[in-house]
Symmetry: C2
Subunit: 405 residues, 2 copies
């Protein structure tokens, strides 16, 4: 377990406010009827990003029952749109009602029996989480490590596969949200072509923001989330599962928890007439439909280019101000830029000032293994040059003011 660089309220007034709020909740002094009034923030951390306006509107549509024929039609539309966003060609595609991490765990649980060898590339927090989860499931994990900010070279993954030719799965983080590094996934997929080993990819910060074609690239299991480059609200984990991964699923030696049973989900989301499985989170489904409609309307390539241009503008601006990115240019992940905290600066204090004085959220390093960085996300609605300018300008302003004090 690791802890993150947590923002604590900036000034003494705010700290008192927070303390009072807690005390009153537990002491029942604050009326439980108080309405929430969360502040408006520009969300440029590792996600969630600010949802598209159409997404927020969609969550106001009338809720339908989970077995209503009209809702069943909507589910199929979501599946269709999601397949296009994933670049799927016949994969089983659907959004889990779960966290992204449960999307990760669904893949491990579905495809790996205890004792199976799993090769995992680890160059940040989420690769390490894959290892933790695979070990919980009894996999024999072969780690291929690289430093945070580096990518894991495919030749090293293939070397591990040469050492363990019976490996069930190679798992890699396509978009390492903790470091801003993109993995050369297309190349890895091509290199694994014709092998019996499955390929799993963490696409949490790539789906909708970075080139991704699970069909062409031979990705057998991909998982993502809704609140980053898709620009929807947090709450679901879209997955894409290849036909051979489903066959592998059908041939498991061990019984799986209900929650991770892909075939049961398929019978509800895709097969018609549907078999009751659970009550889908209807407003989230509407939100995802709206977000995916936006993705398809914009066009995938235009959307990837928009994310790329925003990241380039941000890199140029902070570079001109003397700051450096963690990742090398060749493997930089457009939607998430990890900026090195310069020598002598207090990264957490800068984050707080950005939050409370500029209304801008950026992330810090994730976990004790993280180098001193800020994580700046320009995703979905926020992936544009004006937002890049605003965030870079605020960051440089805060840093400049603090160093001149």
């Amino acid at each position: 377990m690791v802890s993150v660089t947590l923002l604590s309220p900036s000034g003494p007034e705010r700290r008192d406010d927070a303390r009072t709020a807690h005390a009153s909740v537990s002491g029942h002094n604050r009326s439980p009827m108080s309405e929430l009034s969360p502040p408006s923030r520009l969300l440029c951390g590792p996600g969630p990003t600010n949802a598209e306006p159409a997404v927020l509107e969609a969550m106001q549509l009338p809720i339908l029952g989970h077995m209503d024929p009209d809702l069943q039609d909507i589910l199929l539309e979501v599946v269709d749109l999601l397949g296009r966003a994933y670049g799927a060609s016949g994969e089983l595609v659907l959004p889990l009602q779960s966290t992204g991490t449960s999307g990760m765990e669904t893949g491990i649980a579905s495809l790996v029996d205890p004792g199976d060898v799993v090769i995992i590339g680890v160059n940040g927090y989420f690769g390490a989480r894959m290892v933790e989860i695979a070990e919980r499931w009894g996999a024999e994990v072969v780690r291929v490590d690289a430093d945070w900010g580096e990518h894991v070279p495919n030749e090293r993954l293939l070397g591990a596969l040469d050492d363990h030719p019976g490996a069930r799965l190679v798992a890699i983080v396509h978009a390492e949200t903790s470091t801003g590094v993109e993995h050369p996934l297309a190349e890895l997929g091509a290199q694994l072509s014709g092998r019996d080993t499955l390929l799993m990819a963490d696409c949490v910060t790539s789906l909708g923001g970075v080139e991704l074609r699970v069909g062409d690239w031979g990705v057998d299991y991909a998982y993502s989330c809704t609140q980053k480059c898709l620009g929807s609200a947090p709450g679901m984990s879209p997955i894409a599962v290849s036909e051979r991964a489903l066959q592998r699923f059908d041939a498991r030696r061990t019984t799986l928890p209900f929650t991770f049973d892909l075939r049961l989900l398929e019978r509800y989301w895709v097969n018609r007439p549907a078999t009751y499985h659970h009550t889908v989170p209807v407003p989230q489904v509407y939100a995802l439909h709206a977000a995916l409609t936006g993705v398809v309307e914009e066009g995938l390539e235009a959307r990837w280019e928009r994310h790329r241009a925003a990241a380039a503008r941000f890199a140029q601006r902070i570079g001109a101000g003397g700051l450096e990115l963690l990742a090398d240019p060749e493997h930089r992940l457009a939607p998430l830029s990890a900026v090195r905290v310069p020598e002598g600066a207090d990264g957490a204090a800068v984050q707080r000032e950005l939050l409370y004085e500029h209304g801008i959220e950026v992330g810090g390093g994730l976990g004790p293994a993280a180098p001193p960085i800020w994580r700046v996300g320009l995703m979905g609605h926020n992936a544009n040059e004006a937002t890049a300018d605003r965030v870079a300008g605020a960051l440089l302003e805060v840093l400049g003011r603090r160093s001149s004090n």
Copy 2:
């Protein structure tokens, strides 16, 4: 796997519409930019119910990052409010970002090691699902069955415990959504007092609508959902876990999947400073906060009485029209009334007419084991006598018209 009585579109026109929609989605003739326009329905099936207006409004509030100090305060408020709704006294209370069934599975997974004896009362679909899940986890399941529509007498559960004194867990459905039967849970809790066996209860259709006091009653693990008597949107599964259940969790012999690890969730939802775990579904959290604020503002006992009065009115109205409820009066579940389909009537056809001509959703029987019933939910916002009148009136009108044709 079972299938439900699925509504199919009523007339040939509607059926054509649906077919066209599918064909055009896959054939790309329908613009992917089409906005959704789901019809407005009065949701009086087994849930979801229509969300409270304040709930829908709350989902429009600005999204905050999952580690934002302001959001952290809101999470603690949700925990506090939820504890009151559950009648908790020191339990770990939080909403899972999952389905109700995953809430069920989290309990089984957390508290049961393979080979442990689990006594499960089964008098409907969800008791049977508990059995399926416990078996997936390698439990030795002792079923105590009763007919659908009956309750499982506590003396029979205690008899099973006498036969299996080392049983780890007794699991029961407090509110059987498939039959409209309420279990005498307070009595069971009292009878198990002083024993080493844990008590788990499915409170999916009771939390916020029926008397429930997990602290006083000694319930060790309760799970529910947000879209029924709480009147929020679907998407989360609130749980309450006793201290001794957590101790049992800590003493497990086997490793648990990440998704079901209660201690990790506690570190994010309850402990401060929080440890990063996942991105909470922020609009759903706001929605739940609004719904729970409504529950506390109304008062639990007034809310339970409102659900009781609505159900009594509905029973009186349909009784006067010659219809019968499945459950005996002593064990009727107020939020969900299962109405017997009279001899000769086409239950599914009546459902369709209610849906398409009256805009009212009611449920059918769940699964092939179900007797011919309609399931009518008067939950949350819809638990009032005017709605009871409207649904009963529409049901009797459709039946009368069909029988006179």
